[in-house]
């Protein structure tokens, strides 16, 4: 398995944020993690990227155990994330943000190639490359955040609530982009409160409640599941 997480438990002090979470993601898939605010979705991502140390459990990525690796090692192994909240460096230009995303890459030629690719994926960023990132609209900032995460050349991209605060039409654009990224061979883990969006583009999905996985399966099946429809889709 490309990504395999077993019995992951994590705490903030005495608060348990994750409770025996197990999940897996095959190569080239889109896997969604859905759940209400405070369910532990962001904590899960932080564990994968090495920013939050799990209390117990294992994470295997592309044949390597990474649960006790440093964030910079994890990035260079090919796991890149787009955290929630303030997603860009507001006082840097768009171009500087993108270059910063390739911080772990030392060959300028590779950075140049990735920049080309980012600009072809997001033409708007090419137009705005000299503008300060803080002056972009919310949707553009989200595009920039995704493009920046791609600059590290990840094999696995993790996105934390990319649809948060965006107009529906922009959310659709973000979904298109995510599909393009997967089509180019990158595995995607998508963390969302917007269950409809997450389930409609994912292959597999996990439902998280207060740090526990309560439901999992094919995304298309979860879309039909009565509990999911009631609790997360409001149908």
């Amino acid at each position: 398995m490309f990504l395999k997480v077993d019995n992951l438990t994590a705490h903030y002090g005495r608060v348990k944020a994750l409770d025996n979470v197990s999940m897996e993601a095959p190569k080239g898939s889109i896997v969604s993690l859905i759940g209400a605010n405070g369910a532990g979705k962001s904590s899960f991502m932080m564990c994968l990227s090495g920013v939050l140390r799990p209390t117990s459990g294992t994470i295997e990525f592309d044949g390597q155990r990474i649960e006790s690796a440093w964030p910079e090692q994890i990035v260079s192994l090919g796991l890149s994330q787009c955290p929630e909240g303030r997603r860009v460096w507001p006082k840097m230009t768009v171009l500087e943000n993108l270059e910063m995303g390739a911080f772990s890459v030392r060959e300028p030629r590779v950075v140049g190639e990735r920049l080309e690719r980012a600009f072809s994926l997001f033409p708007i960023l090419k137009e705005r490359q000299w503008q300060l990132a803080g002056s972009l609209s919310g949707g553009e900032q989200q595009m920039l955040a995704i493009a920046r995460a791609l600059m590290a050349g990840p094999k696995l991209l993790m996105l934390d609530e990319p649809s948060l605060g965006l107009a529906p039409i922009i959310v659709e654009k973000v979904m298109e982009v995510i599909k393009d990224i997967r089509a180019a061979g990158t595995t995607v883990i998508l963390v969302e409160q917007n269950a409809f969006m997450a389930l409609s583009i994912a292959d597999h999905a996990y439902v998280l409640e207060t740090g526990k996985v309560v439901l999992s399966g094919k995304a298309s099946e979860l879309l039909q599941n009565d509990d999911v429809r009631k609790s997360y889709l409001g149908i």
Partner: protein
């Protein structure tokens, strides 16, 4: 745009350089020259602090402690061991850099005002040690007779550093080296990482930057350079005592950085020079001096939040950085 501006910038640099080299001829009075030498020392202090505060975004109120430690280290080493300034200067930098590294590892977990207060305590603690560790520091009496740099020969030229003008030129070289050193750091990957930490530490972490390492490095370099400035000061004034290196001095240096404009190299120099010269001008105002000084600072900080240099840049470059929101 940048190509067109180049000859004009080059001309400015030549003019400024000529003015700087000519200062001892224009202001030959020792009183003026002393103010210029002190401006140089403050320029190094403000520049070194700006790497930490302006560039990496970590507020420290402990800068005077490193400044003082450098002064004491160099003075004691040269008096007790009879070593030349040219040796003790570097030893002071190394020593203070090591202390700064250890303190940095300890305190940089903290952020914002908690970090500021903790470093302020550190500064007070160092002053207490200077006052009470009498066998080594001679306590409140201070240390007298710190020697001038020994005469030296370089490329067949024999030189001494004794007059104010000679100290002025040595100081100029010191400032130039510090500017070059900081410029190299700030335009490297290390500098990129520091800016990323200042602008959004969580995001910096998420792209694999070891943010603690960046902060500790900035703290160490900043402290080491302040130590060097201290060594220079001790061998220039020939006398040091704890009152020079109190928390007031930390605040003074911090104000210079904020006043000049923090995240450039020119801003802190401008801040240091202005705020060294301004109080001297205000001597004429007698008792009211400190009041006027205080009001001037408040007005400047309210009207020019980016510092003097930031404001000049905005006026000179009409298409300056756009306003950011959020």
């Amino acid at each position: 745009m940048t190509v067109k501006r180049k000859p004009y910038i080059l001309l400015c640099i030549i003019a400024v350089l000529a003015a700087l080299l000519g200062i001892p001829r224009l202001f030959s009075m020792d009183y003026y020259l002393h103010i210029f030498v002190m401006s140089e020392i403050y320029a190094v202090l403000a520049l070194s602090l700006s790497l930490l505060v302006g560039f990496t975004g970590q507020v420290s109120m402990g800068h005077a402690a490193f400044y003082g430690m450098g002064a004491y280290a160099s003075a004691i080493l040269s008096l007790r061991l009879g070593l030349s300034f040219w040796v003790t200067f570097w030893m002071a930098g190394l020593l203070v850099g090591t202390v700064a590294y250890l303190i940095g590892r300890l305190v940089l977990r903290l952020r914002g005002h908690v970090l500021a207060i903790t470093t302020a305590f550190f500064c007070v603690l160092v002053t207490v040690v200077m006052n009470n560790w009498i066998p080594v520091t001679n306590g409140p009496m201070g240390i007298t007779g710190v020697p001038s740099p020994s005469p030296f020969s370089l490329f067949g030229v024999h030189a001494v550093i004794e007059t104010r003008a000679q100290y002025y030129y040595l100081g100029l070289l010191f400032v130039a080296c510090v500017v070059y050193f900081l410029w190299r750091i700030e335009s490297s990957r290390i500098g990129d990482a520091m800016i990323a930490v200042r602008e959004n530490e969580e995001l910096a972490k998420s792209i694999g930057i070891d943010t603690m390492k960046s902060k500790v490095l900035a703290f160490t370099i900043s402290g080491a350079l302040a130590g060097l400035a201290g060594a220079f000061y001790a061998h220039y004034i020939h006398f040091i005592s704890p009152v020079t290196f109190t928390i007031n001095e930390s605040i003074n240096i911090l104000v210079m950085v904020i006043f000049g404009g923090m995240s450039t190299l020119f801003g802190p120099i401008l801040g240091a020079v202005c705020l060294t010269i301004l109080p001297e001008f205000l001597r004429m105002a007698g008792e009211l001096r400190l009041v006027i000084y205080g009001i001037a600072l408040i007005v400047f900080i309210i009207w020019m939040p980016m510092g003097i240099w930031g404001t000049i840049q905005r006026i000179l470059l009409p298409k300056g950085p756009e306003k950011t929101q959020g």
